[in-house]
Amino acid sequence: MGAIFRRELNAFFTSAVAYIFLGVFYLLSGFFFINSSIAGKTADMSGAFASAFLVLIFLIPLMTMKLFSEEKKQRTEQGLLTAPIGISSIVLGKYFATLVLYTIGISIFLVYALILEFFGSVEWTMVLANFVALWFLGAAFIAVTLFISSLTENQIIAAIVGFISLMVLYLIDSIATMIPVEFISKILTDLSFYSKYNEFVSGLFNLSSVLFFLSTAVLFNFLTARVFEKRRWS
């Protein structure tokens, strides 16, 4: 796992991916931060955290799109799958490399909080709770889009399908209200990532939501490993 983790992290920084992700994320989150906290003259960062959700829907598929699709296209996965390592090491190596880049990205929120500290007193428990929620949300999103990348060998398709999937997760509440059957709309609402994340933003730390994000991440990493297994057997 270590070898793949290091290689992927290196590859992020030797290609443009890391710089595009970090640059765009800093730009957009900075814009929302200034717009809501600085311009609103408040030490409350919930506005910036709330808008991060939408930014991630666009940016996370960009990070993960080529991780598996390119391996398949360039036939490099053959090298990985015939090396004396398990499939889980391959999947987790890539997953954690992405997670590290993601963590570097969202750490900017802690910098924003420090900036606010100059102007007033920041509610640090609130900021940290929000930060943890954002981290777990991203952990789940990365697993979902990595899984999508493992299904195709075209990275553009992986990016678009990943984006659409995250968009559906974002809009699931609105979709739920359109469905007249009550128990289906209930299930959909329960699956809503956005309302769960919004609870944190509005100041409610809900452990079950953290577990929900975490189990999504585990589930999709497991599915990605299954995709590889299945390909071997078909």
């Binding site: 360039q74 090396a83 398990g86």
Partner: protein, 389 residues
Amino acid sequence: MVIQVKNLSKHYGEKKAVDDITFEVKDGEILGFLGPNGAGKSTTMNMLTGYISSTSGQALINGIDIMENPKKAKSYIGYLPEIPPLYVDMTVKAYLDFVYDLKKCRLSRTKHLQEIYDLVKITDVKDRIIKNLSKGYKQRVGLAQALIGNPPVLILDEPTVGLDPKQIIEIRALIKKLGKNHTVILSSHILSEIQAVCDRIIIINKGKISANDTTENLSKNMTNDHKIIAQIEGPREEVYKAVRAIKDVISVRADMNRGDNIYDYEIEAKPGVDIRKPLNKLVMERNWYILKLQPNELTLEDVFLKIVMGDSPKIEQELTDEKKAKILDEVLGKKPEDKKAEADKAIDEAQEKLKEVLNGITQKKPSEKTQKLNTSLNKKKTDKKGDEK
């Protein structure tokens, strides 16, 4: 390190990519996989290396089943797939460092990697980005990654494809050298390569093993050195009868019409008897002409084509025997052992007629086949010439 393959099959739906193959590779042996494109060479290698699973059967590397204990079995294997698994955005050094980590290699890093750089001669490109390398260098980097960790088994899928002749010779020499302390399986569709490098050859066609023997035996067994082909100008029937009458001639077959009264005759004599002189004498006496006289010797290339195209002389012979018996029964209307003397006479007569009939048949059918064989042979030859240029 011994490799055992037992009844290995891979089916893709209805298509049998590899169909029940069994073979063994001994310690320190260089085995060549030979077969046309799509014969199942790569599929077999992919199963041996654990990249894909088998539908049924077993592949054991040093007694360890690749499906049951893949990590352990894979640690014995260095694999160079058909397309080398190179991360083209990395430098050669970074890539090989990565493979070193990936294989959890325990040899001293700098020393081991330097040995490999020297062995495959990539020291001067080690700081370059792989995508900027020429095909030959990429192939060498691919070979280098297979060698990392010094695995006792090397599986190389078409290692010389796309290289220039000088590089091919170098890689072949390298493989021969590696074969001294590794067990090597190598696939190719280039015969001369297999002939030059391998101790033993397995010919695969349509997912099945068609032949499995040492290089020498393979060409020896398939060579019909007691058969000669003679192109004689003269009336066919008379030539046929006269040649058949020569002492020690077992069978004669008018193979192909080459022109007005000119035919190719395939003459089979008793093993070890040279009938060229009596044949010459006969032809001179009768005022015919021998236009060509050649032993029916097969190169490994012919053997390969015969096996692959299913145009084995053995099968043809069996067929004619079968037909012969059938026609004999028809002609005689009774079984020969009833009245032996009468039957013998009748057989002689019948055989004459039969030969005529057969000639008619064989003239049509095999000539087509032979022509096909010839054209493909010629094509191969020209290809070869082109390669040499």
